[in-house]
Amino acid sequence: MTASLNGVALILAVPAATAALLALIPDYRVSARLNVASAFVTLLAALSLLFDKPAPGPYLNVDDLNIVFIVLNAFVGFTTSVFSASYIAHELETGRFQPVHLRFYHAMYQALLFSMNLALVANNIGLMWVAIEMATLTTVLMVGLYRTREAIEAAWKYFILGSVGIAFALFGTILVYMAARPVVGEGFDGMVWTVLIQRVSAFDPALLNVAFVFLLLGYGTKVGLAPLHAWLPDAHAEGPTPISAVLSGLLLNVALYAVLRFKLLLAANSGALAPGPLMATMGLGSLLFAGLMLYRRRDIKRMFAYSSIEHMGIIAFAFGMGGPLANFAGLLHMTMHSLTKSAIFFAVGHISQVKGTQQIADIKGLTVTHPLLGWGLVLGVVAIAGMPPLGVFTSEFLVVSSTFARYPLLALPLVAGLLIALGALVLRLQGLAFGEPTPDTAPSQASYAPMFSHLALVLTAGVYLPPPLVSWFQHVAGLLG
């Protein structure tokens, strides 16, 4: 019992303490190492939760649903910190970062990990809201870090849209409390999720419906679902690349997790509207929209940002469909997308450093000049486009087949969206990876380990899913209803 309590305490205390410490350390080499070490300890603590879950408390709770997100979060957080260490060294040389920025950057990175972990383990819907707001603020600050005109513009846009989303989410949270009050009683219990889910069947359905609409709009903005996605491409393209990787790989998932929690509440109340169709519609809309937008992209990071919108759309669609198979597919797809997309951003980060540009037109023939980076990117893009035998194919196949089995008509736009996105990615990849190489502006000093470890996992998952993982995800999918 005490050991397990330590697990939860550690995934919160380690990042928080490190953030404070990193703000004080002037030498960036030390702080980069400390950043990696702390992320590693957090990962170990998160893994320990797998074996020993603490009992739910009024503030914090680890259950079978959020443990998936916590472990994924800790893993990608760790690999990104390794990538970040080699990324920032180059940024310092080229003068895009000053050492004083790095101090701030590292502190914010740990603060972000802390707030995401807090959002995931929070058992209180108010606390969860606070944590997601904190995560938003830290990422806004990091997106604006380069202080170029475009970076400030992107950060401002993200800040304004993110705040409106967050405000809507708070309003929805208040409405949930109002719905709970007549049943649960006044005070603290009215916001504790484990209490709410037990008593939700007696809540006023009309109030819950309105609350869910606000929550879906609010947290949906943070997930990047169309038409609320406008902040996402700018924020991904203009911030430091490690932040793009964490945004795509983790923060979007955390926001989606919040939506899922409330979806569970609505599903347990028989009088409330079915939350699934709303999510499925927004998901499908995002998939089609982002798929079409992929064709006109000229900036490499912006292109993969749109690809993230597309995949969040697929995941939201799968969870919206519901049922054991679609939920399983959604969970798997979320995991695969996080791993693949952050690997792609690792590759893209080094590529844009080597070439000195993010313009797709100026990056050509990577496989010739930089075989490891080039082929890593090829593998990543092939994976994210959903080609066999990689893991994303498995999960997309499951989404499509479960849709075919239940709503064949919906499968048509789904498949169309997937094919549209595939076409765009293949088209762009050809120019990036092959052809006459463009000159480099800087020598390559990439760290390949994070990227290839992710890709290896994705490849393994595509070929062979270990039975314990399958039964674990099946169990969680069953919980999601």
């Binding site: 606390l127 606070v130 604006g144 400030i152 513009e153 705040s163 208040i174 309105v210 000229r298 912006r302």
Partner: protein, 220 residues
């Protein structure tokens, strides 16, 4: 007494909506800040009233935060920022005042219809409060959309937050954690905004958001 308490709460919450409308037609930044300060003052009165009729002393803290921080410190700070940076002092609108006001009236009607209909089970005080709160939230959003200057967008956002605090105060017995954290988040958000304004000033020589909006989608 009960009747009086209800009417008073109603009056105070209603005055917030009225002040939101007043913000919509201000054409000078300083005047806008003054109206915002007045709204924050009305919010603190409203929350304070809720605290006394609900017998919830912790709400007085929220009221005090609204009074000191939002009604005094922030307006003064923004006044100074405007003066020091020499920001253009007129509010530039995307849509002219008339249509904006009409649209605002529509939004208030919408929030009344929606909230009063879905909250039939809740107690009347909370019902009225939450309906007014949603109106303030939507009017704040409208202001953010129809204004070009960064400062007036920030004011719109803060007035939106006023609506949220009104809602939180009206929901009887809502845990204190949330209210304090809301106030705290506003503080943090404000620091961010301050930093941003300075950076924007530093780089753009304007805080007009149109100047920021040069790459809608793609950089050339």
């Amino acid at each position: 007494m009960d009747r009086f308490a209800f009417d008073m709460a109603h009056l105070l919450a209603g005055s917030l909506v009225l002040l939101s409308f007043m913000m919509l037609y201000q054409d000078r930044l300083y005047a806008l800040l003054n109206v915002f300060a007045l709204q924050a003052f009305a919010l603190s009165l409203s929350v304070g009233w809720q605290a006394s009729i609900q017998g919830a002393p912790h709400l007085f803290i929220t009221a005090a935060i609204a009074l000191v921080f939002k009604a005094i410190i922030i307006p003064v700070a923004l006044h100074r920022i405007i003066a020091r940076l020499g920001i253009h002092r007129e509010v530039e609108t995307v849509v002219s005042v008339g249509p904006t006001m009409l649209f605002g009236i529509g939004l208030v009607a919408l929030s009344m219809v929606v909230m009063l209909r879905v909250t039939t089970g809740a107690d009347p005080l909370a019902r009225e409060d939450i309906a007014f709160a949603l109106s303030v939230v939507l009017l704040g959003l409208l202001m953010m959309i129809t204004r070009r200057n960064a400062v007036s967008q920030v004011v719109g956002f803060m007035s939106l937050e006023n609506g949220l605090i009104l809602a939180a105060a009206g929901a009887k017995g809502m845990p204190l954690v949330v209210e304090i954290s809301v106030a705290f988040s506003v503080l943090v958000a404000l620091i961010v905004i301050g930093v941003f304004l300075f950076r924007i000033r530093e780089r753009f020589d304007t805080v007009d958001v149109v100047a920021l909006d040069r790459f809608q989608g793609e950089r050339l």
